[in-house]
């Protein structure tokens, strides 16, 4: 037997909506992934073994982060963008700033098609940006990112913009920005 039994990949899903968590979990399990679902960015970091000071400012250097050796093996993180407290973007940044976690591929999900938001996430190192509702065809796109694993060299972020965007603000870029809006 040349090929060993297909390893089960472990995906960490982050979403504050119970409904969406249930949905993404089912989508991932249908694709034979082992899933852990949490409802916030801070719970995600806790799970990943990255403890932090509660008042850790996004703007401050991440020296206060305690890089624990990863106890859990996570092959991919898929997170909602709009979450109270820590947004998906904030979570993405923390992960990319962590020595132990930066090579884990991160995918962002959002119900809003905002080009500047999408670009910002991709520039920060997200592998993919899925528009909600996420479908099986999206989940099928995850495999190559999982297989690449540690071989992928993380590109230096070009424009590291601060994640100050509020999710529920009156986002002016939403109206007729690039004609890409598909609400």
């Amino acid at each position: 037997m040349g090929m060993a039994a297909e390893a089960q990949y472990h995906v960490l899903a982050v979403d504050d909506s119970l409904l969406d968590r249930k949905l993404i979990e089912r989508l991932l399990k249908t694709s034979s992934y082992h899933v852990t679902a949490v409802d916030s960015g801070s719970k995600a970091l806790e799970f990943l073994g990255l403890l932090e000071d509660e008042h850790n400012d996004v703007l401050a250097p991440s020296v206060s982060l305690n890089d624990h050796h990863q106890d859990v093996d996570v092959n991919l993180i898929i997170t909602d963008y709009c979450m109270p407290g820590m947004t998906g973007y904030d979570l993405l940044r923390k992960i990319k700033e962590s020595k132990s976690l930066k090579d884990i591929p991160v995918v962002i999900m959002s119900s809003e098609n905002i080009p500047s938001r999408i670009n910002r996430c991709l520039e920060e190192g997200a592998e993919e940006f899925f528009l909600k509702p996420v479908q099986l065809s999206d989940v099928n796109k995850l495999k190559p990112h999982l297989l690449k694993g540690r071989d992928k060299e993380s590109e230096p972020s070009i424009n590291k913009r601060k994640g100050m965007e509020e999710c529920h603000s009156h986002d002016k870029t939403r109206t007729k920005y690039d004609g890409l809006e598909v609400v």
Binding site: L18, L19, K22, L23, R26, P133, Q135, H168, H170
Partner: protein, 151 residues
């Protein structure tokens, strides 16, 4: 097994009308595809979450819009959540009302918001009714010894 055939036809007709009249869209099909023998209640569970979410959010919206000084950011946040849940299960008409609703929030237009609240409540109760009928028909079909979906 006349009863089974009859129920299957009823179920098929009811489901078709839900799509035809725009209450549900393709996303609902996606949910059904995710249901199988190991997760036989997936659709009912997810839709139940939608019902819970919606009822909570509609209450919150009514309260928020009753305030002397309306917090439009809060209202918008609730509508955003409602839009998300409805889109996750394919409740197209509910989702549709959320769009102008958010625009009215942006404009801080109280009348527009109140009108949208009425509309979204109406659409929600319609789709809830129809989904409950759908589930009841499915249960009857199973009880009669039949199975679904016969897509």
């Amino acid at each position: 097994m006349d009863v089974v055939v009859q129920l299957q036809r009823q179920l098929a007709d009811h489901t078709a009308s839900l799509f035809h009249e725009g209450f549900l869209n393709e996303q609902f099909n996606q949910l059904q595809q995710l249901q199988d023998e190991s997760n036989p209640d997936f659709v009912v569970e997810v839709v139940s979450l939608f019902f819970e979410d919606s009822e909570r959010l509609l209450n919150e919206l009514a309260k928020a819009l009753e305030q002397q000084a309306v917090d439009y950011k809060k209202v918008d946040a609730h509508v955003h959540q409602l839009k998300g849940s409805s889109s996750s299960i394919g409740a197209q008409r509910v989702q549709g009302v959320c769009i102008p609703f958010r625009n009215f929030c942006e404009e801080q237009n109280i009348e527009g918001c109140l009108k949208c609240l009425q509309q979204v409540k109406h659409e929600y109760s319609l789709v809830k009714n129809k989904l409950e009928t759908l589930f009841k028909l499915e249960q009857q079909l199973i009880a009669a010894g039949g199975s679904f979906p016969t897509l």
